[in-house]
Symmetry: C2
Subunit: 405 residues, 2 copies
């Protein structure tokens, strides 16, 4: 029997308990041991709940109990999650987590402690919710040198963009609807400004490239400026708009970026809708691969956490996780990153197109039947700095969205 402790009895924590109870027999068989939840740490009591007798308010009960071999940290936030995780690992207890903030901020250090103790720090649920992606990167794509990861890594923003596309509504309206449905937080900043996706692409990139990617180095732009009209243009051109978190090798350097982008129908990411997430990976021998599934939600996330528990149980005294080196991955200056840009320009086509073409070269103007006094065009490929200069010469624009080629 392997005893575990669950830190935090919120959405994911109660999901972990539910998954272990629901699939007890098959989980125990796969772990080759009986998994026993001995403690649930929470500040609250849960009278009448099946876990009421397991509740403790004191982390010392857990850290001092030699029977506890695996700790599930699903509290979220940096503190005290960081201190608890570090103490658990130092005490020789493996830790599984869904806490992307903590992994992005302190993953390197925590992985190294786990390695030194021959135990594991696993975080499958930190990126892409229930989608298996961390373990495939760690143990399936080992024959490849990964040169690109592009993910739809945030369910809230993907739901909002999908809903804006089907309903033709504007961002604010859909955000409110998403909040009412519980798909978006009351304070949605971490999602809609791209910060959540930024942490996730930092984790995936660190793991895939083996060097540390600091999330604070990643250029991040959210979806708050996307309008119903932008989406109308996208539809007309056969694109969908997605919040993409990308890291990609160009020559011997990498760039990393989170921003909304036009995605074409040839991309498997094109039709990833609603709260689903997907991670596209390109390997130098594998070519294209994509992992798709529920990027959030109580049970999918708990499924990934419990799969980590099973893996820890199967490898109680054997470190299985690649760690990434403390060497920082040198990221290209974002100014040098190249793409094509979709641009909406105010003014009548007849009066303004020649100005546009004088600056950007020949372009194909795009109009919408019900939108007057503006038109759109797509630039040739150019870097961010050049685009900025040319946009300045143009005297600004209504909106500009990068095109993912």
């Amino acid at each position: 029997m392997i005893s575990i402790a669950v830190l935090g009895y919120g959405t994911v924590g109660s999901g972990v308990v539910e998954v272990i109870n629901t699939n007890q027999a098959s989980i125990n068989k796969k772990a080759a041991e009986e998994i026993n939840i001995k403690y649930v740490l929470d500040l609250r009591d849960f009278p009448g709940d099946p876990v009421q007798d397991k509740i403790t308010h004191d982390f010392e009960d857990i850290i001092n109990d030699p029977e506890i071999q695996i700790v599930v940290e699903v509290m979220g936030g940096l503190h005290p999650a960081y201190e608890f995780t570090k103490r658990a690992l130092e005490a020789g207890k493996s830790v599984c987590t869904s806490n992307k903030e903590l992994v992005a901020q302190h993953g390197l250090e925590l992985l190294e402690i786990a390695k030194s103790k021959d135990i594991n720090y696993l975080f499958e649920a930190s990126c892409g919710g229930g989608i298996p992606i961390i373990r495939p990167l760690n143990s399936s794509l080992t024959a490849d040198e990964i040169d690109e990861i592009t993910g739809i890594l945030n369910g809230t923003t993907n739901y909002i963009l999908s809903k804006m596309t089907t309903d033709g509504s504007d961002f604010d309206v859909v955000l409110k609807d998403a909040q009412d449905k519980g798909y978006a937080e009351r304070n949605p900043e971490a999602d809609v400004e791209g910060y959540d996706a930024c942490r996730k692409i930092a984790i995936l990139s660190s793991l895939a490239y083996g060097c540390h990617v600091d999330f604070s180095d990643i250029y991040t732009e959210g979806i708050t400026k996307i309008t119903a009209t932008d989406i109308k243009y996208a539809k007309k051109l056969g694109y969908s708009i997605k919040l993409l978190a990308t890291s990609k090798k160009i020559g011997d350097k990498f760039y990393a970026m989170v921003c909304p982008a036009f995605v074409g129908q040839d991309s498997p990411l094109y039709s990833v809708n609603n709260v689903f997430n997907a991670i596209f990976v390109h390997g130098n021998v594998l070519g294209d691969a994509m992992f798709y599934g529920s990027g959030a939600g109580k049970l999918p996330t708990a499924s990934a956490v419990v799969a980590d528990v099973v893996d820890c149980a199967k490898h109680l005294h054997r470190n299985i996780m690649m760690s990434w080196s403390s060497k920082r991955l040198e990221l290209m200056d974002v100014k040098q990153v190249e793409s094509r840009f979709f641009v909406r320009k105010a003014g009548s086509l007849t009066a303004t197109l020649s100005d546009v073409e004088a600056i950007f070269g020949p372009v194909e103007p795009i109009g919408l039947a019900d939108v007057t006094d503006e038109f759109a065009f797509i630039t040739p490929e150019m870097n961010e700095e050049t685009f900025k200069e040319k946009a300045k010469q143009l005297g600004g624009y209504i909106s500009r969205i990068r095109i993912k080629d």
Copy 2:
């Protein structure tokens, strides 16, 4: 250093050598050992080829060499692949393979030998080419009880169906084009009749459900009868036609089936085109997940084989593969499997619709502008047996295709 032998220097075998040479440094790092190709077994010589000095014509050289710890079987076919694999495993050498025929036929026995010797028999490349699916089923989706696997598991047929869809051409024309391009074999039977997909779904199902699924028990229907007109109807109705290999739990039983099907736009399989493969998996707590990538091709397949080599190297004396029990999975009689059916009926709508409705109940007739003297309709959900009876009452049909809901 770990010495390996590659059995067969055909497409996949030469791919394995190429992948190991291309990504040598990163592969050795991930394996934590230097991977050294000591022998390549082939009947032919390859003068001038980098492997010419490693070529042997005699399997005894390999089996009797105690330095060889991992054998890569990429010969294909049942014999002598079966005998070589069995002898290698019995001699304590792990085996990695892309040979779906062998795994479907003898996987159970070979996995048990590997287990008894504390070594590994790995076959990531046998299903879905480069797509990581065997390892995720084995070690990622462990918190779930899997209740459905539906895959586009054959690149040749998916290419043909995609091409028929974009070009509007008939099966024979596109098959010839696929043969000319090297996407289809000169003898395409195993692909176009669904036999290849059948073996793959048998392997995936055995692994996911832990009981033996005999491929010969699986109802299998190929794509040879699909016509350009069927595809026109599918398009009009917003479906794509895919060759699906499915196994699914209904109550406490399972059914398994390979057949072309109408796939709706809500399914992530809808837009899997050309030679790409994808495997949709549903878990009781995870919900929907999908794994997408190159289902065939030299380097993608070799990428999966080499990832198995790395896994074997990391677990030289530790069995890591779930084996499935010898207990046969009880499959439902296919007669009892329910679906909706798309049916094309000869005759004019006005004269024939009342006959159709007398048998199938009210239906929505579907016509194509340029196709006269026939129409189509979609039945309510019914089992195969009922459909067969009703179709007989109707006096036959031009074609019928199941709808994947």
